[in-house]
Subunit: 336 residues, 2 copies
């Protein structure tokens, strides 16, 4: 492959992006895309940017980076009850970018777009001034007015979370080469599993319709369970009680946190889970859990929403385990 | 203003972005926005990213950067015949960002959003790893199927361009502190005018409806007239002849290029015009020009589309002036 000369932006589009463009993208021959939701539907729009050295490691496989950038947006759409419809991409290539990197990146993006049913509709490719980065705006559809919000949880609702929590935080630590004792003695299978959970998040697209019909409020867990739950509580004007003994953990995370208790807080506060956190009315809980089971995605009740502390006007959620109750002051990964 | 501590992402959203959020943005309290085009309408989607040190100067006024980022997207929408509807923003702040910078940036974005009728609906704020940057995805509306394309120009159509060409390229040179003779002896009024044309592009929103009804093909001129026309020609499978004597120039550009002929090519190849380039059927030309006049935007016929060179399969446009005919090999600013 020719990596010695710089392609023009047009050549780059024709060679790498046009082949993966979907309907409404006009084969990337225009400056804009057209998008029409089905009759009676709203479009749901979400945007997430990821930066080399901040959200992923610069030497992560390019196909994995592309897939993850799309997956984190589709995770947001799923939480809103929206089915994927398409996406547009801004990509900034750094000085000295290689064409084989771009080839692998666009191939990975094309695969992910097909796998998730969310075609590329348009984009802009620019030169970075520093590390490379990308920003994806993704579009989903819901019947008019049925988008699921994060600010609508109510006192008495059951708090549920999908999949397992904390794997990606351990995977990131492993991938970053952390030398704590737990990381040095971990088995190869656990290492591969946890790293994969960090590199290849699974957007819970199959939950979108169920959440739309059964959940009162939902959001995806991207910055850590404790911090994201605090956001949902604050937005909804309620607090929550979480039973940490009920937290769904993978075998690897359970074993590690059993023998290294200092990891337990990291599972709750670490980011990149891309699971769904939701509030469900008690009367709907059985149907909700049954329907999640039918699409093969674990959904675990881990607590409930309760009134906020009106005296302090405090919505902070409370976490309890055998050792007592606690709150996480700075519960989540924050970029600032 | 408190610039000594880092705000959390949530505080930053609540303080700076929530106040400028429009309808469908849910006051930035959710992870996604909802957007519904009017009955029978398509959404038109465009995305443009700009990077400090690449597309603007790092010390450009933050309000001007915000305004320009939105304006360049609305320029695309106008060229597609679409009325603005809303936008989402990815913003990456660099190490050591200052809160007063962000306050000025968001205030500028809010002003521009109101002036252009294109509210902020959502966004993502991250940490840059290098220079700061932003990416805006903007949404417009057209009646179903009426988006104006850039690949539909036909042999015999008249080629027109709005406003004046080349001002921003000179403005960028001035703002970059170029020390060529023309720049050292320029009057203060011309300097202010040209710099303003670079810093504050005017998206031709008022042309959107007229283009939709009267233009066969259109695009905005962002990377230089020569290069962008070459793209339109190639996409449409035709060539074009441009009469450089007819090129609409501002008084400042006309005076400068008269006394410094070496600037003439720069007017045609320099970027950042954000004017509209379009193809109009000869029978529609009078109505088209009249309607543009009615909304107060100059529109100038500068040539016509003609068959491509079938022997060479070459669509490159040809430019002529008193000195003869020429082509621009590398006609436009390219980021690679």
């Amino acid at each position: 492959m020719d990596t010695d000369r710089r392609l023009s932006e047009d050549e780059l589009i024709a060679r790498y992006f046009a082949p993966i463009a979907g309907e409404g993208g006009f084969g990337m021959r225009d400056d804009a895309a057209a998008l029409t939701p089905g009759e009676g539907n709203d479009l749901v729009v979400t945007v997430d940017a990821i930066v080399a050295g901040v959200h992923f490691l610069p030497d992560d496989p390019p196909a994995a980076i592309a897939r993850k950038a799309l997956a984190v947006n589709l995770s947001d759409l799923a939480a809103k009850g929206a089915r994927p419809r398409g996406h547009v991409l801004s990509l900034a290539l750094e000085e000295g970018w290689r064409e084989d990197w771009l080839a692998a990146f666009t191939q990975g993006l094309g695969h992910a777009a097909r796998a998730f049913g969310c075609p590329l509709l348009g984009g802009d490719t620019v030169r970075a001034n520093g590390a490379y980065w990308l920003s994806i705006t993704a579009f989903g559809e819901v019947p008019h007015g049925e988008m699921v919000h994060r600010f609508t949880a109510r006192d008495g609702d059951v708090l549920c979370v999908s999949g397992t929590i904390g794997d990606a935080a351990l995977g990131l630590a492993l991938r970053s080469g952390v030398t704590e004792p737990w990381a040095l003695h971990i088995g190869i299978q656990s290492r591969v599993f946890l790293t994969d959970r960090f590199l290849h998040p699974q957007p819970r697209i199959a939950l979108a319709d169920i959440l739309r019909r059964r959940a009162r409020a939902a959001m995806d867990v991207s910055d850590g369970l404790a911090g994201d739950l605090a956001k949902m509580c604050k937005a909804s004007g309620v607090s929550a009680e979480v039973d940490l003994e009920k937290l769904p953990l993978s075998g690897a995370a359970r074993t590690l946190s059993g023998s290294h208790p200092q990891l337990r807080d990291r599972l709750v506060t670490g980011g990149d889970d891309y699971e769904i956190l939701c509030s469900v009315a008690p009367d709907d809980l059985d149907d909700f859990l049954n329907e999640c089971g039918q699409v093969g995605i674990a959904m675990t009740p881990i607590g409930y929403f309760r009134p906020r502390d009106f005296a302090q006007n405090d919505c902070s959620p409370i976490f309890s385990d055998a050792n007592g109750r606690k709150q996480y002051e700075k519960g989540s990964y924050s970029h600032f």
